[in-house]
């Protein structure tokens, strides 16, 4: 049986086209995915993200536990409510999941994980938590809404009880606050300002409808994907997974190598991988008409096969193999030139161009070619994000 959030009936009533996503029946759009995208960039939109897993971790040693479990360092979290984005790694360096963790108190952290990875995440966390005396509580009693866009906060605040309004208004970016049975955070997955709100499932439908009455546009997973890609944010399963480590997934900034004595899971593998040339995740903008899609081949123009030599040594089973040494599929059919692959691609409604994230051999080149239905098309390499706060960050 497929899972439904507390808002499923509301979505259907409001005209949502429903699709399966990680086992959940979720809204893809409510009519026009592109209009929903523009609503978030220009005004305010809202997403039901209750399919994501909210887990509370408790115990006197919970901080110590998370400093071992996560590649980013929760030791950086000093103020209650502060959020941290992190990968959770296998010993090989492969990514089990990416997640957000909130510091609630010295004995309580809250974690939000992806829907599709929830079961394996929880199994992994439980396996390691026991030794630290940390207990897990899945918060299936909470729904989660993401309200995003330049006007999202202003439109949301009047709906909060006056006792909550002031603390919600004053939230700094990437901070949250528990207010009665709600938790409100200034986070998101769109590249716009806004809130993510966790609230009791009993409050979900009335809150959704009240937000809608404020002129906030319901938006589906379709717009969520184009918005996150424009914002240069990774999608688990596309841009990283258990076979790809953070350093070749544009997530090196989330790995805290300092302090050097923090022994987090995956550290040893990453210490080795960071010294190799390997691959990197880059942004692509298609110079012609067409649409970049995941798994399309990226041909590195103007490179030779020599770049691929010399990294074939690290075939240690416990360490992910350096990308340039991987034989399967990482070479173009033409022979020597190494190839890359689009990991996420779409049409960008803001730029009116196709954009993508792609994993390619580290290169100084500024242009590549992407194979679309057997033909090569020129694309420029850019540094994501493509769009932030309604503005294009790349020149076309």
């Amino acid at each position: 049986m497929r899972l439904k959030t507390a808002l499923y009936d509301t979505h259907v009533l409001q005209g949502a086209k429903i699709v399966d996503f990680g086992g959940w029946e979720m809204p893809l759009h409510y009519g026009s995915q592109i209009e929903e995208h523009h609503a978030v960039r220009r005004d305010a939109g809202m997403f039901d993200v209750s399919h994501m897993g909210v887990v509370d971790l408790s115990g006197d040693r919970v901080r110590e536990f998370l400093r071992c479990l996560l590649a980013n360092d929760v030791g950086r979290l000093k103020i209650p409510g502060k959020a941290l984005y992190s990968c959770m790694l296998l010993p090989s360096g492969g990514v089990i999941d990416d997640l957000i963790v909130y510091f609630m108190s010295d004995s309580w952290f809250r974690m939000v994980v992806n829907a599709g990875t929830r079961d394996k995440d929880l199994a992994w966390i439980r396996r390691h938590a026991t030794a630290f005396g940390v207990t897990l509580r899945e918060r299936d009693d909470l729904a989660m809404l993401a309200i995003q866009g330049p006007n999202a906060r202003e439109k949301t605040l009047p709906l909060l009880p006056s006792s909550q309004r002031a603390s919600a208004r004053e939230l700094a970016p990437f901070c949250g606050a528990a207010i009665d049975s709600w938790f409100i955070a200034r986070t998101g997955y769109t590249g716009e300002d806004g809130f993510e709100v966790m609230l009791p499932v009993a409050d979900a439908a009335t809150t959704w409808n009240a937000l809608r009455a404020q002129g906030i546009q319901p938006a589906g997973l379709g717009a969520r994907d184009t918005l996150r890609l424009e914002a240069g944010m990774n999608l688990y399963g596309n841009d990283m997974d258990e076979n790809h480590h953070p350093l070749e997934s544009g997530l090196g900034w989330t790995v805290a190598f300092e302090p050097g004595d923090r022994d987090f899971i995956g550290r040893q593998a990453l210490e080795r991988l960071r010294r190799s040339a390997g691959r990197e995740l880059v942004g692509l903008v298609l110079e012609e008409r067409g649409v970049l899609r995941s798994h399309q081949k990226v041909v590195m123009a103007g490179t030779t096969g020599n770049a691929a030599a010399g990294h074939a040594a690290t075939a240690d089973r416990d360490v992910l193999v350096d990308g340039t040494a991987a034989a399967d599929g990482s070479r173009s059919a033409e022979g020597a030139a190494p190839a890359g692959e689009v990991t996420s691609g779409t049409f960008s409604p803001t730029l009116n161009r196709s954009i993508a994230l792609a994993r390619v051999p580290k290169t100084a080149a500024s242009r590549v070619q992407v194979e679309i239905r057997g033909k090569l098309h020129a694309a420029s390499i850019v540094k994501p994000p493509f769009v932030r706060h309604g503005k294009a960050l790349i020149s076309i």
Partner: protein
């Protein structure tokens, strides 16, 4: 319920075929995708139409329609030679969403032989096909 004009014929892959009067010798047809197809695809952002002069067999994948989420091939319902393709779709792919049976037409084919009517669906048959597919 989706709009299915009664004067067109349809395929199970959701193309429509309109006979163009006055074309010789064997006749010419206009081809597009149905209201149901454009609705299922969502907002279209890229359309690739066949070059004029291209020879097609019935069933050839000859056009591509891409929405934000997915790319889909369009198959020629008939054999023949492409005599026109809709250039406006290059800059306005949304025409296909807005007017799938009119301004959103894809290409026209000069047919080499009379169309095999048995291979195409009437509007009523296509409506029934959609209803069956939904269950």
């Amino acid at each position: 319920m989706s709009n299915i004009p009664s004067d067109l014929r349809y395929t199970k892959s959701h193309e429509w075929v309109r006979s163009l009067p006055g074309e010789t010798p064997a006749g010419a047809v206009e081809v597009g995708i149905s209201e149901h197809a454009q609705s299922a695809l969502g907002d279209l952002v890229f359309v690739e139409v066949p070059d004029v002069g291209r020879a097609l067999k019935a069933g050839d994948a000859c056009a591509v329609v891409e929405s934000v989420k997915a790319a889909s091939d369009v198959y020629s319902p008939v054999g023949g030679k492409v005599i026109a393709s809709n250039a406006a779709l290059a800059t306005q792919p949304e025409l296909l969403n807005q007017d799938p049976y009119g301004a959103g037409w894809l290409f026209r084919v000069q047919t080499a032989a009379p169309i095999d009517d048995g291979a195409l669906l009437s509007a009523a048959e296509y409506a029934k096909f959609l209803a069956d597919e939904a269950h």
